[in-house]
């Protein structure tokens, strides 16, 4: 008799619980995507690419070097001495400080500062 009671209760309770769960999850706003903290990298540009506008940056800890491709969105200009520099200001050998965030297609720059252009070869 007890077993029958439990089965009946379960039969009524399960759909109600399921409905409640559905309502709750539907009512919840989508979880906000936590913005990734910006990364700050300082290194030497080894290559500049036109499409999509990007450059390869090599950073070093001692002789351990790491190469990263940094996307440069339209609107993000290269700054030199506090002023916007021409796009051609960035070329292999330039030392730059970059603020960037990881995106689905790689690191995306939000700020690019030219620290030093390569000296003329002796």
């Amino acid at each position: 008799m007890r077993v029958v009671h439990r089965a009946v209760l379960l039969a009524f309770a399960a759909p109600i619980a399921a409905a409640l769960l559905c309502t709750c999850s539907a009512a919840q706003p989508p979880a906000p995507v936590a913005p990734t903290a910006p990364e700050h990298l300082t290194g030497t540009v080894t290559a500049v690419h036109a499409q999509p506008r990007s450059f390869d940056l090599v950073t070093a800890v001692g002789h351990a070097l790491r190469s990263r491709r940094i996307l440069q969105p339209a609107g993000v200009t290269v700054e030199a001495h506090g002023a916007a520099a021409a796009p051609a200001a960035l070329y292999p050998g330039c030392v730059v400080r970059v603020e960037c965030r990881s995106g689905p297609t790689g690191a995306v720059a939000s700020k690019i500062e030219l620290l030093r252009a390569p000296p003329a070869r002796p």
Binding site: T44, D56, V58, T59, A60, G62, H63, P92, L115, R121
Partner: protein, 386 residues
């Protein structure tokens, strides 16, 4: 007779007093004098970290040159030289830009692979990129006195630079800079700014040991590590082990030069007279430091930590702003302990090393060649005492 006896006693007492006040000479591998008890303790613990041997199970590889720092830096004691020679490569582009080939595993190409990597890729060392323009051999230097070199202020090094040879002495002395633009001083091309970074990077490039400062493994010639080859989680050592290793190197005393007799002293004067000292600057002075034993000390390193042109015969790779023929002046401190000389270990004696100098050193070398037999012997006596 009585008076003579008294004098003897006085002389004996004075000798004993002098002996007691004079500390015993430093031996290779000893710590700097004047370290605190806590610093000495870190030095000893750091020596153990430096001597630690890694296995694939504790993080070694997948690519590596050695299974521990002391596998190479071992002669005559831990921290000394070694007979291992490693391979560096770079690409000097037609526009003059020096590409360190970071995206193809450069500039250091490891000579060993763990069994797991060998099984996965069938290689026993890192593949070297065909597009590199040059290949360099690098011998193992000792690391004695590196803490003192680290404590020399940038301003002092830059003060000796004369990139355009304005004083007209034929010696230019150019600073090199790291990839992020800071003055370099460590490494044969002076591309590493600090001892700390030198240690952090060396763990990864020499042993494949990731650490908090470099938490990612080296690539395999630019390609990712095959799945299942490196199963130890990163970082493979913690900050404390990293710091201890650095403290061992920082607190290692420079080797004590051998005692000079009359011949050696004449050799020292000849060293200056023929122009060796223009690059092999006898001493540098450290700046302020939280470590008393490193603060405002004179270090007889016989280097200016600047780049000099050694001539086309010795040229190998570019690195940073260093041209293929430019090398940092090799410190001569500890020369009496070395078995090979020059950045590539090519010279088997100091005399041979001098003969292999070219470029800016050509004039000094010509003067060396013109020395009389006794003068040459005196100079070599001095050099072999350092």
């Amino acid at each position: 007779m009585k008076t003579a006896g008294r004098w003897l006693i006085v002389v004996a007492l004075l000798s004993a007093l002098y002996g007691a006040s004079c500390p015993p000479p430093l031996k290779p591998g000893d710590p700097l004098r004047g370290l605190s008890a806590a610093e000495l303790q870190r030095f000893e613990r750091g020596r153990a970290a430096f001597a630690r041997v890694f296995t694939p199970e504790t993080g070694l590889g997948p690519l590596f040159n050695a299974d521990g720092c002391a596998e190479c830096h071992e002669d005559p004691v831990v921290g000394g030289t070694g007979d291992e020679v490693e391979v560096h490569r770079a690409l000097l582009r037609p526009d003059g830009f020096c590409d360190p080939l970071a995206d193809r595993g450069g500039p250091v190409f490891q000579q060993h692979a763990t069994p797991a990597l060998q099984a996965a890729l069938g290689i026993d060392h890192e593949p070297e990129p065909a597009e590199s323009t040059s290949r360099a051999a690098r011998s193992t230097p000792d690391v004695f006195g590196f803490g003192l070199l680290d404590a020399v202020p940038d301003s002092e090094i830059l003060g000796y630079a004369d990139p355009d040879d304005r004083d007209g002495d034929g010696i230019s002395g150019r600073p090199n800079y790291s990839l992020d633009g800071r003055l370099g001083r460590f490494g044969r091309k002076a591309s590493v700014p600090t001892l700390k970074e030198f240690v952090e990077g060396a763990y990864v490039i020499e042993q494949g040991i990731t650490n908090p400062a470099v938490p990612t493994e080296e690539s395999i010639g630019g390609k990712p590590i095959p799945a299942g080859v490196d199963t130890v989680p990163e970082p493979e050592i913690g900050q404390e082990e990293l710091d201890l290793n650095e403290d061992f190197m920082r607190f290692l005393a420079p080797p004590q030069p051998l005692r000079l007799g009359g011949q050696g002293k004449r050799g020292r004067a000849i060293f200056e007279k023929i122009g060796c000292a223009s690059c092999h600057l006898p001493s540098l002075t450290t700046g302020d430091s939280p470590v008393r034993a490193l603060r405002y000390q004179r270090v007889y390193a016989y280097t200016d930590l600047l780049l000099h042109d050694m001539g086309p015969e010795r040229a190998d790779i570019c690195l940073g702003q260093a041209l293929p023929s430019e090398f940092r002046t090799e410190p001569l401190m500890g020369a009496h302990l070395m078995k090979t000389f020059l950045h590539d270990g090519e010279a088997k004696s100091i005399e041979e090393a001098v003969e292999l100098h070219g470029g800016e050193a050509a004039a000094a070398k010509a003067r060396f060649d013109g020395l009389s037999k006794p003068e040459r012997a005196a100079l070599l006596k001095f050099l072999n005492s350092l």
